[in-house]
């Protein structure tokens, strides 16, 4: 299908391109930006007047809940949510049921996602069998099946000898290991240690839960040379360790979630279960450090940490409520809000959800690596068209995700969010469009 995106402001964060231009798309690729061939006959014209035309978002952390937790989310519902949020590629962690430790499961997920053609899916394989922290998975087989890295999801490896060997083995073949730095023992609480947890009588997760794990991981990276991506940092002290590790030249990257970027433990209020999240929300100083680190590039990417949670699992006392919040449909708006609050150029803001996460994925993307997260003539046509001036209010019931729990519901925040997706294209086909975009 030939599509012309007409009259929008085209931003390619990786190159700094920012100009009003038409974008011609054919056979899944970008035919031209600005220079549309005279004989180009589009079957569809998307009117992008007043809109930004940018690379589709790349989300490094989104749970789809399949297989095993279909009552909380299905591939179709969650990939529809991704498309509605302008997300054209996402990475899903292996904590499904069964866990993604068998090539067949990974192939099945990839196959079904391809059939839906709503969003590209890049699964993380389990680093250890059943995430048990004891036996390594068949990483080569899993990579062949489509895994772009290996992860323990939320289950820390307690045995540091196993962790060291996992990193050694992954380093042998150049696989990236994705770890959320949290000590298994210190991390058992339900809220960040601090004045709020003390006052509310909630068991605390100290900053040391993150820094102890980080120090271990960083030292093992030094020894093994493994490439590690740190998932969802939560503390100022964690940011300082990351900054030092990067300055040392270690092959480490990191991301932060939309929740930790915008919220603090004070938002728990009177035990609001929507604020039960992992990692837990920390204090204002931590949030400020995370925002600054994302702005200066110390933290590479912003992620939705999308986790659909069934209704009943949040209708529980805070400590018993299931952690997590929906996020795919909020990622763009919360990136824009952070960028505006921080006074960043739009291209820098968008880089943190497009070209920077693609750099984290690196060679694991194969032939996509050269053009994903970018708008380049001849590159893949993964595109989002959004109105940066439009605001919207989050009404959980109207989200496409099966997960309706979010700390950002208008009812709770009283705040509207900036930026509305008009159209999302994946490999040159329309995966989502709003009514306003339908002109031709």
């Amino acid at each position: 299908m030939k599509i012309l995106i007409k009259g929008g402001r085209v931003i390619n964060p990786a190159t700094g391109r920012d100009e009003r231009a038409d974008v011609a798309i054919a056979t899944g690729r970008i035919l031209g930006i600005g220079h549309v061939p005279a004989d180009f006959q589009p079957q569809r014209v998307i009117d992008a007047a007043g809109c930004i035309v940018a690379p589709g978002l790349v989300d490094l952390a989104a749970r789809l809940r399949e297989p095993g937790h279909e009552h909380e989310g299905m591939l179709e519902s969650e990939l529809n949510a991704a498309a509605a949020g302008g997300v054209t590629s996402l990475v899903c962690p292996p904590d499904t049921d069964p866990t993604l430790d068998e090539p067949g499961l990974v192939e099945m997920l990839k196959f079904r996602a391809r059939k839906l053609s709503l969003c590209r899916l890049f699964p993380l394989g389990a680093l250890t069998r059943g995430l048990g922290g004891e036996v390594l998975t068949e990483m080569a087989e899993l990579t062949e099946a489509g895994c772009i890295g290996f992860s323990q999801a939320e289950v820390p490896i307690v045995d540091t000898l196993v962790l060291q060997r996992a990193l050694q083995y992954a380093a042998t073949f150049g696989y990236t290991v994705w770890l959320r730095p949290q000590d298994g023992w210190l991390g058992k609480g339900v809220a960040a240690s601090g004045a709020v947890a003390t006052r509310l009588g909630l068991s605390g997760v100290p900053v040391a839960a993150e820094t102890v794990a980080l120090l271990t991981i960083i030292e093992l990276v030094r020894i093994t040379g493994a490439r590690v991506h740190l998932c969802r940092l939560s503390s100022a002290a964690g940011v300082a360790l990351l900054r030092a590790a990067k300055a040392e030249g270690l092959p480490i990257t990191a991301d932060v979630s939309i929740n930790s970027l915008h919220l603090t433990d004070v938002d728990i209020g009177f035990f609001n279960p929507a604020m039960r999240l992992t990692p837990p929300l920390r204090q204002g100083g931590d949030r400020d450090a995370l925002r600054a680190a994302l702005a200066d590039g110390t933290i590479d990417a912003l992620v939705s940490d999308h986790t659909p949670v069934e209704g009943d699992m949040k209708a529980l006392p805070f400590g018993e409520a299931e952690p997590g919040a929906t996020g795919l449909e909020l990622l763009l708006s919360l990136a824009l809000k952070w960028g505006a609050d921080s006074g960043l150029p739009l291209a820098t803001t968008l880089a943190r959800v497009t070209s920077c996460p693609v750099r984290v994925l690196g060679e694991s993307l194969g032939s996509l690596a050269s053009s994903a997260g970018q708008l380049l003539p001849g590159g893949v046509a993964d595109v989002v068209v959004f109105d940066p001036e439009a605001t919207w209010t989050v009404e959980p019931g109207r989200l496409l995700s099966q997960g309706k729990h979010t700390p950002f519901a208008f009812e709770a925040t009283g705040t509207a969010l900036p930026g509305r997706v008009r159209a999302t294209l994946v490999a040159g086909t329309v995966a989502h469009e709003s009514l306003e975009a339908r002109t031709g």
Partner: protein
């Protein structure tokens, strides 16, 4: 982010639930204590009843075992002429897999007027207050480590009874503060009522420095903690904390932090000794002190009934 108003107060600032002492204005606390004073005499009458809650149904919902607290709530409700239904949920619905809110919905359908709730999870009574019918009142009878507001209030009643003026007192709270809902409620009540010197006393495993955020002085030495104190509140040491990574043994705890006659001599000569009960003799307190002249442990229990009557009658009289 927006914050909803304190869920235990209505638009007029009147108490409709009692969930925590935190955030309650001083005049609300004083009103409860004054009202409790008027009920104290009811307990001395031959017919120990007033008709304030006649025709009302009070459900005692105890998701966690307790005999003493449940009994005092039952007595208080009956002296207000309410019908009392005791539900030992730890042994019934929850074990059949019914969710907390389903239990609440079912009991609401039985036309409950008040739920007295004890639960092992901090914040559970808030969840219940947010989900029950508007005319139903909720009293927190202890949730996790968070709050035990009626215990806090009866402790304040006791202190006021023996010491009158809060604004000149030194109060020491000794023992397992970090896991104690009683300590949290006491600290909020004492700060609200204007006590200038509150000390939290115990080892760092049970009294971490974070507690300073609540407005207390953290003392790891018993001598420093109780010196010249006017009030000493000893907390119960739960069995599961007596040996393990929190403490090596009950004996070693007693040696360092148990209240003995010798240590009590460091406090002011007219200091009173309190304990929320049940007491572990020889673990947190020596028998001669628990039973001694300075102990007000039994008056606490008596005042507890009057305070619970006051709380129930006040919230029942206010509309959401």
């Amino acid at each position: 982010m927006l914050h909803r108003r304190n869920p235990q107060l209505n638009r007029h600032g009147e108490l409709i639930h009692l969930l925590s002492i935190e955030g309650l204005p001083r005049d609300v606390l004083t009103h409860i204590l004054d009202t409790a004073g008027t009920f104290l005499s009811v307990n001395d009458r031959e017919v120990k009843k007033v008709p304030l809650l006649r025709g009302k149904s009070v459900f005692n919902l105890f998701f966690e075992n307790s005999t003493r607290t449940r009994t005092t709530f039952e007595i208080a409700a009956k002296r207000l002429s309410a019908d009392v239904i005791n539900l030992d949920i730890a042994k019934s619905s929850a074990s059949k897999g019914e969710s907390l809110l389903d239990t609440i919905a079912n009991l609401s359908a039985m036309h409950a007027d008040m739920f007295v709730v004890r639960h092992s999870e901090s914040g559970a009574p808030y969840l219940i207050a947010q989900h029950c019918a508007p005319h139903v009142h909720v009293v927190n009878a202890g949730d996790g480590r968070h709050a035990h507001p009626t215990q806090g209030l009866l402790d304040m009643y006791t202190i006021r009874h023996f010491k009158q003026d809060f604004t000149k007192l030194s109060v020491a709270i000794v023992g397992d503060i970090v896991h104690s809902r009683v300590a949290r409620s006491d600290i909020h009540a004492l700060t609200t009522l204007g006590v200038p010197d509150i000390r939290a006393v115990g080892p760092k495993t049970l009294v971490p420095g974070d507690l300073r955020d609540m407005g207390v002085r953290v003392c790891h030495s018993m001598a420093e903690g109780i010196r010249d104190a006017d009030v000493i509140i000893m907390l119960r040491l739960q069995n599961e904390r007596m040996s393990g990574a929190m403490l090596p043994s009950a004996g070693e705890f007693f040696k360092n932090y148990g209240l003995t006659a010798d240590k009590l001599a460091l406090a002011r000569p007219d200091a009173i000794v309190m304990h929320p009960g049940p007491i572990n003799r020889g673990v947190e307190i020596e028998s001669s002190v628990a039973d001694g002249a300075r102990s007000v442990i039994l008056p606490q229990v008596t005042f507890g009934i009057a305070v619970r009557m006051a709380v129930m009658s006040i919230i029942a009289g206010n509309e959401a």
